[in-house]
Each structure stands twice: as structure tokens, then as C-alpha cells.
């Protein structure tokens, strides 16, 4: 196919502005699928994504569009994730495109993520085509939104397609805009092979399936390939393009095309997303730039509830890591929880998604410890170390000072909630940078916030204090010195490593008190009294007591039905098995997670 007839593009939008629905309509209108074949949202084919209504994994689909000029065009539509946690995945997808459709809700207008995504797309030199969606809504005000796009983003929007992806109105306008406003790819099929890995999945039969965009050159069945960063080499076994919902094998992929490769690669570590694929015998001179290195921002410990499932957890994490370049993990062990992994995530949503996938897709029962950010510890001997697990913090006498990660946050909110949101940011140790009015009713608040303060439940708090109107985006700014202390929890006089936290000194007392209260509520009464203490070093700052079980006696004997009595005892014993034994104390698994949710009460 002629390069001029290829359009590689993605759709960017704030969450819930209708990105996935528009993708479905494009697939439908380009006619590769009949309406009957359409699932509600073709691109979101993961069970979990459907339930949460967000796209986690970038996916891509190739369709054929017969334009009004009579020519057939190949559309490679690359789906992008829609949450701030997944900015890296968005950036990978963007780098494979020449243009982006910017979907803006006709009623809500520009939101924080709209802006963040636009800046990201501009960073990748994409041509951006605004599309105004949901014009069927009674509250739709497309003219106001057009003006907003022009004023705030600076993109011409007067002839932006006005559509309803839900009802299918004016989708044709979008398709024509793709043909005319998004440039065709460049690159020569005669140059040495240069392809960007923007995603990959693991298939038990085919091995690793690499999703790539060919920037230069050509790849065929049998081509010897090399991953430039990892150095892994292999021979291409199969290659093809992405039909909606399936792989469509073909003979070759050349510059400008988007497709997949398999090469009997079994080792997940060989195909790092972001790497450049080249021809092993005729390599290109240097790898492609542009892929940002992914950094985990949030860490937590994940442990199998049943210690014997440790190898299963490792296998599952390895498989997930293949599909998720942002997931990191390494073995660790805890006195309280046994063997497990310290896992790194992009954010809390990412963490929750991985946790749910491990539980649902791999049937693992997990105990997850409190998330932590990466702290920089400046030791008195001049060393600087990174700490992702609070229990690894050196003795306070060896610590000169500590630094914590700070993010620049932008919060867009209607003016009536500005006060409430400023109060929230204040509570979270935010440093106010300024405020801009986007229009008369909406403002963009700029804050610096410690990452630690936003990873637990900031997003939820933001939504609840703005009646759902605030939107939020952030990026890592750097590290700043902070007065931090390690807060330990002792249960029945024994320190429970999995419950240690690093907290600002100023709030340590309050936090310790609430953790003790929460644990008291979560730990069932046992045969003896259990003190729960919060301590900084050797100083106890808060204490609660789980009183000894008062009564657990069956007065009557059910006639002679001993079997029934025994069943009751067996059930009771089974319940005890589901708890973690720390010293003499049985702690329910959910207690480890519950201490995070201190703000819910």
C-alpha cells in the first residue's frame, strides 16, 4: 500500500469524554465489522476495563476507509489509556502516530487531562484535530467549547467536527478530517529496519507478540531481528496487522505501517517496551529517540495469602510485566507476611488494577501493604540511598536528612469549589503556586504537592469535595527535603514490618492514633488482650487495646447432633486460617490494606 494512503493516529481525551465510543464508531463506519459484530466497545476487550469504563492497555486496530475522494485509506487507530497514571503508555502510543483526534465533551469542555494530553501530543509533534463530542446532550454548548479550545489550547476549532459518538451523528466528518488533516507517515522502505515497540502481549503459543510501528525499512518473515537495547536476537516467525479483535497475518511490514511481530521470544525481559527493533544483519546506525524511560512512582509489597503460592505470584507478575512496561517487581520478605514482592507502579490506580488482575485473572489471594513513594535518604556518611520500603529505613542515627518526591499538580475546578479544593491541598501539605481563570466559571489551580499525599485517596477526596467537578493532573517535579519519621506499629509488643509508614513528623501523632484505632476495629478479639501501639523509634505515641474475647461458648448441645457442633467448630477454625499469624496474634488480611483508608470515616 502506498504510504500516502496510510494514516496513523490516536484519540486523546479526558476520561469519560467518549474516546472509546468514538473508536467504536470509526471501526463501524469503516465497514470492517458489521454492526452485529460490534461489541459495545470493541477496543476495550479486557474484562476489567469494561467494568471500570477506562482503557488500561493501549491497543491498536487497522481499518480501511473509502474516502469521498474515491480512494481507500488505511487507518491505524492506536487506542490510548485515559488516566493520569498511564501517561507513559500514552506517550508510547503517541510516538507511533502522526496525528491525534482530540475529543472534547460538548458540555464539560476542556478538563485537566485534556490539557495534559494535548501537551503530550504536542511534545511528539503530532497534528491535532479537535472533535467535539456529545452534541446530543441537552447541556451541549459546542460554540462555547470551540472558543475554549481556541483560547486555552490555541488550536483552530471553527471547523471541528460536531459529533455524537453515541448516536453516530457526523462520524463521517471525523473520518474525512483524518484523511485531510493528519499527515501520511514518512520513512523509506529501503533504509535499514527501524521499528518502535509501543506495546506487547504474551501469548502462550506464539510467545511474545511485539506491537510496533515501522519507522524505516522493511521486515518480513524470516528477517533476523535484534532489540537494540536488550541485544536479544531472533528470527521473525509471523507478522501482520491488527484487524478489530484479531491478528491478520501478512507477508511484510514496511516504513509507515503499524503491525505485530512474533519471533518465538519466550523471555519477557527481551522485549522491553520502548526498545527499537532493527535488522540484525543490516542494523540501523542508532535507535529511535523519544521514548521516555518509565519510572515507578508508587511502591507496595504484594504477598500471596497462601505462602505456597509464591511461585505462582512470580509467574503472574512476569506475565503482567510483559504487557505492562510500567510494572516493576523484585523479591522481598517480611517478618509478618513471609515471601513476596516489592512492586512499583505508576500510581495508585495502576496498583489497584494490577492487584485486581492478579486476583481475578490469576486467581491469587493477595495481601498488599501500604503504598510508599521513593524517599531519598541522605546518610551521615554522605551516601544517598533510595528507599521504597519503609522498613528498610536505616537507623535514625545514620540519617542526616530525608527527601521526598514532589509533584506539580494542576487542578481544574468550577469557581464555587475553589475554596474547598484549596483547603484540601493545604491539608495535604500543598504549596500554592497560583490560579488562572480559564473562563469566568472555571479556574486552574496550580500546586506543588508531596507525591506521598496524593497516592492514597487524593483523587477521591478531590471528587467528593467538588461534587465530581474537579479534574486533576500531575507530573513529578523533583525531590525536596522534608521532616519525615518512620512510624512503626507494634501488635502485642511485636513490630509488624508490613505496617510501617514514613510520615511527616508534624502529622505522625495523628496518623499513629488513627492507625491504632483502625487496627483495633479490624483485629478480632482473641483469647488474650492485645495492645496495639504506634511508635517512633522507641517512643510510643499512641495506643489502643483489643480486649480479650469475652465469650465464645455454645450453651446447648443440639440434642445428640454432634456433627452439627463439629461443623461449627470447623468453620470457626477455617476462619482463623485466613488470618496472618504475627507472633501469637491473628491479623485479618484486610487489616493491612485498611490502614490506608483512614480518611474514609
Amino acid at each position: 500500500m502506498d504510504q500516502n494512503r496510510i494514516r496513523n493516529f490516536c484519540i486523546i481525551a479526558h476520561i469519560d469524554h467518549g474516546k472509546s465510543t468514538l473508536a467504536d464508531r470509526i471501526i463501524e463506519k469503516t465497514g470492517l465489522l458489521t454492526s452485529r459484530e460490534m461489541q459495545a466497545q470493541v477496543l476495550d476487550n479486557m474484562e476489567l476495563e469494561r467494568e471500570r469504563g477506562i482503557t488500561i492497555k493501549a491497543q491498536t486496530v487497522r481499518t480501511v476507509y473509502k474516502a469521498k475522494d474515491g480512494e481507500e485509506y488505511i487507518f491505524n487507530l492506536i487506542d490510548t489509556p485515559g488516566h493520569v497514571d498511564f501517561n507513559y503508555e500514552v506517550s508510547r502510543s503517541l510516538a507511533a502516530c502522526e496525528g491525534a483526534l482530540l475529543v472534547v465533551d460538548a458540555a464539560q469542555g476542556i478538563e485537566a487531562q485534556t490539557l495534559a494530553n494535548v501537551y503530550l501530543a504536542l511534545d511528539h509533534n503530532l497534528d491535532i484535530v479537535p472533535v467535539i463530542n456529545k452534541i446530543d446532550l441537552p447541556s451541549a454548548d459546542p460554540e462555547r467549547v470551540k472558543a475554549e479550545i481556541e483560547d486555552v489550547i490555541g488550536l483552530p476549532a471553527q471547523d471541528a467536527p460536531l459529533i455524537s459518538a453515541k448516536t453516530g451523528v457526523n462520524i463521517e466528518d471525523v473520518l474525512e478530517a483524518v484523511v485531510h488533516k493528519i499527515p501520511a507517515p514518512g520513512g523509506s522502505e529501503n533504509h535499514p529496519l527501524k521499528a518502535l515497540i509501543f506495546d506487547s502481549v504474551y501469548d502462550p503459543y506464539k510467545g511474545v507478540i511485539i506491537f510496533c510501528r515501522i519507522m524505516e525499512g522493511t521486515v518480513k518473515k524470516g528477517t533476523p531481528i535484534r532489540m537494540m537495547a536488550t541485544g536479544a536476537t531472533a528470527e521473525v516467525v509471523e507478522l501482520g496487522t491488527f484487524a478489530p479483535g484479531q491478528f491478520l497475518p501478512c507477508d511484510k511490514l514496511s516504513a509507515g505501517m503499524v503491525g505485530y511481530l512474533t519471533a518465538s521470544l519466550k523471555n519477557v525481559k527481551d522485549t522491553r517496551v520502548g526498545d527499537t527493533v532493527t535488522n540484525a544483519q543490516e542494523p540501523c546506525s542508532e535507535p529511535l529517540p523519544g521514548y521516555k524511560k518509565v519510572n515507578s512512582m508508587v511502591y507496595c509489597g504484594m504477598y500471596p495469602a497462601d505462602g505456597a503460592k509464591y511461585p505462582d505470584l512470580r509467574d503472574a507478575l512476569e506475565k503482567l510485566q510483559l504487557n505492562d512496561a510500567a510494572l516493576k517487581f523484585e523479591p522481598e520478605n517480611s517478618v509478618a507476611l513471609g515471601f513476596g514482592f516489592r512492586c512499583g507502579f505508576l500510581g495508585l490506580l495502576h496498583l489497584e488494577i494490577i492487584q485486581e488482575r492478579l486476583e481475578r485473572e490469576y486467581n491469587l489471594d493477595l495481601v498488599t501493604t501500604a503504598p510508599s513513594v521513593i524517599y531519598k535518604i541522605h546518610k551521615t556518611d554522605g551516601d544517598v540511598i533510595d528507599i521504597t520500603n519503609p522498613s528498610n529505613l536505616p537507623d535514625p542515627s545514620e540519617v542526616d536528612y530525608m527527601e521526598e518526591p514532589i509533584v506539580s499538580a494542576e487542578i481544574m475546578v468550577t469557581t464555587e469549589f475553589v475554596g474547598a479544593i484549596m483547603k484540601l491541598c493545604q491539608e495535604r501539605r500543598g504549596n500554592y503556586l497560583g490560579m488562572e481563570y480559564m473562563e469566568t466559571t472555571r479556574a486552574l489551580l496550580k500546586y506543588e504537592l508531596p507525591l506521598n499525599e496524593i497516592i492514597y485517596d487524593f483523587f477521591d477526596a478531590l471528587k467528593s469535595r467538588s461534587k465530581g467537578y474537579a479534574s486533576f493532573d500531575y507530573e513529578l517535579k523533583g525531590y525536596e527535603r522534608a521532616e519525615l519519621v518512620k512510624l512503626d506499629i507494634l501488635i502485642n509488643k511485636e513490630e509488624v514490618d508490613a505496617l510501617s509508614f514514613i510520615v511527616p513528623e508534624a502529622t505522625a501523632y495523628e496518623r499513629g492514633r488513627r492507625m491504632c484505632e483502625k487496627l483495633k476495629a479490624e483485629i478480632p478479639r482473641q483469647l488474650f488482650e492485645i495492645p496495639i501501639q504506634a511508635a517512633i523509634g522507641s517512643k510510643v505515641i499512641a495506643r489502643e487495646t483489643v480486649k480479650a474475647m469475652r465469650k465464645d461458648v455454645l450453651a446447648k448441645c443440639y440434642g445428640g447432633d454432634i456433627t452439627r457442633k463439629k461443623k461449627l467448630l470447623e468453620k470457626q477454625k477455617e476462619g482463623k486460617k485466613r488470618m496472618r499469624q504475627v507472633g501469637n496474634v491473628e491479623i485479618p488480611q484486610k487489616a493491612f490494606m485498611s490502614v490506608l483508608k483512614l480518611d474514609e470515616d
Binding site: L527, R550, K551, C557, I562, Q572
Partner: protein, 398 residues
Amino acid sequence: MEKEQKKLAVYVHIPFCAKKCGYCDFLSAPATGQVREAYIRALRQEISAFAERNRKALLDYYVCSVFFGGGTPSLLFEGVLGGILGLLREKLIFREDAEITVECNPNTLTTKKLSSYQRDGVNRLSIGLQSADNRELALLGRIHTFEDFLLSYRMAREAGFSNINIDIMAALPGQTMDSYAKTLGTVVKLKPEHISAYSLIIEEGTPFYERYGERDFGGLDGKPSDECLPDEETERAMYQLTGEILGEAGYSRYEISNYAREGKECRHNICYWNRTQYLGFGLGAASFFDGCRYCNVGDLTSYMEMAACGKPVCKKITRLSKKDSMEEFMFLGLRMMCGVSESDFSRQFGMGLFEVYGEVLKKHVSLGLIKVRDGRVSLTERGIDVSNAVFCDFLLDG
């Protein structure tokens, strides 16, 4: 060589009552005279068929106790229980002094019934009083008042019954320490030979569960009302008080919920805790015989159909492994205040008690829940309070 005869207890279930109480989860319901007659026919068929099938084996056993439980066995017309007893005597070998108990409720006893029990050899009555407070009785849904009970009790004494148990309950809706102490005092004055003092348990599937199961104490919208259940502390205090008042009056606690004058302990109940074998006849009745635990069907129609064909009416048979038996030995035996005997354990299982349960015993002795004295292992006062948690640890892994 003549084999030594083994003890056997017999339980007969009468699943009928005048009115179902709100807390009751036993297999029992009101029924018409016709249904009752049909049931008694089925019961007789079950007994005959069982005796027929096990004729030879039963020659090795003698009956030491018969217990008519329910429901309300005293609801039946005079002569009915006697007829069943006659059948049992025909099919099984009875010991001369066998304990024969009928469970009764006030307002169902008549002088005629009582004298027929006497003639039939019934020598023990167990009367359900539950409370001496008429308001508490009404909240429980009982059909009688304290005065009704008193009448029945006096009639029983006049008819010549010299071994009577009175059932009472603690932790009732609306009950206070004072009202419970009054019930205890009133009962003691009547000088029964035996007192069973249970705590009310809110069982799933009963009307009480609907009302009290989900809330802590049954107060509406978190507000306490005078129909609330006493809290745990009060319930335990009531338990303590039972021991004190009954102890002073000359009753000793021989099992978690049972008190008796010396020599008047309920032999039938002790059979359960000692793992003596027993046959259960009737709807849903349980048996322990020849190393297995059996449970009869609980559906009245199926029971009657199956019994009519002379087929076994049990729906579940569990053959006990050595592990099962050891577990039972512990969690049943420990219900008795005298506890379990080390030598009995090693004689029955060929292993030492401490060999099997050393760790568990050590843990609970150090927690002050179990005491070991003179070759016997028993619960402490504190151990009784949390006995289920203690018993759980005697279930063996694997």
C-alpha cells in the same frame, strides 16, 4: 465366652408443639391430630425395622436411658409415649434402673397424663420454664405463664415424680440481672433435682434472627429498648450468677449448662459427652452407633414414606476416623466440668493425650483456659467463657 454388654441410650424425637417459639430452631411445628398419628405410626415402623435389621448386634447392648425430646412430647395423648416405650422394651434389652425422661411444657400436662407416665415407667421429667418473669415469657413467645408452670410442677410432684429438671434461660430479650436472679431464686425454692440453665442463642432462620441477628443488641436505630438482648458482659455475669446461686443451694455444675443435686445428673446427657452409643428415632434424630454418626431425614413427608417401607431413614452417615474420634473425645469431654481422663484417652486410642495434644494443651494451660490435675484435663472458669475457641484448637490438621 459371654461378651460384656455395652451401654446404649435411646432418643425419641417428637417434632410437634402447640406453637413454635420465636427462638426455636429445633425440628418442630404445630400439627393436626391426623399428622401426629401418622408420625407415631412411622416412628414405630422405624423402631421395628431398625431392631429387625440389627437384631443380633443389639443383643450386646443394654439400654440405660430413654429420652423423649422435641418439640413437646407431653403434647401427645396419654398412652402414646407408653406405647412407644413398650415397643422399645420389646425390641431392646433394658436395664432395670434405666433413666426414662419426658420433655414437657407447662399447659400440656394433665393429671391423667402424669399418672400414665408413672405407669409406663417414666421416672424423670424435664419441664421447660425458661423464665419466672411473665413479661420475658411473652417476649419469647411461650404459651404459658409462670403460674401455669407452677401448676404443672405441683401436679408432677403430686403424681409422684421425684426426679425433675427445670429448664431456664439467660440472656433473654428484656432480661436484667435482677430479673434473672429472681428466676434463679424462684426455681431454687422449688427444689428440683436438676436445673439446665442455657444462654439464649440467636440461630439463623428463626424469627429472632430477623429481629436480633443483625443488630448487636436488638435496639431499634441503635437506641436501647427494654426488649433488647443483654450484652456480652451481662450475659457472662448471668452465667457467673447461675453458678453462685445454684451452688449455694446445693446444686453443682457438672457440665457447661447443667446443674444437679448429687447423684441426679442427667445420665442421658452424660452419654453424649462421654461418647456412649445412642440410637435416635424420629424426624431428624441423630444416632451414634457402631463407629458411625447418623442423621435421620428432616422432611416429615419423606420420613414417613421411608419409614413406611421399612427402609433406613437416615440421610447422612459419617464413619468416624481415629482423628474424628479423638477430636470428639476432647470437645465433648471438655464440656463436662470433670473434663477428660488421660488414661481413658490412651486406652481408647493407644496414644498418649499429651503425645497428640501436647502443644495445644501447653498453649491453653499457659493462657489459663485449661487445667491439668490428677490425670484429668478440664476447662477453667475462664476457659468455659471461650470454650469454642479452645475446642477449635483440638481439631487436628489434615
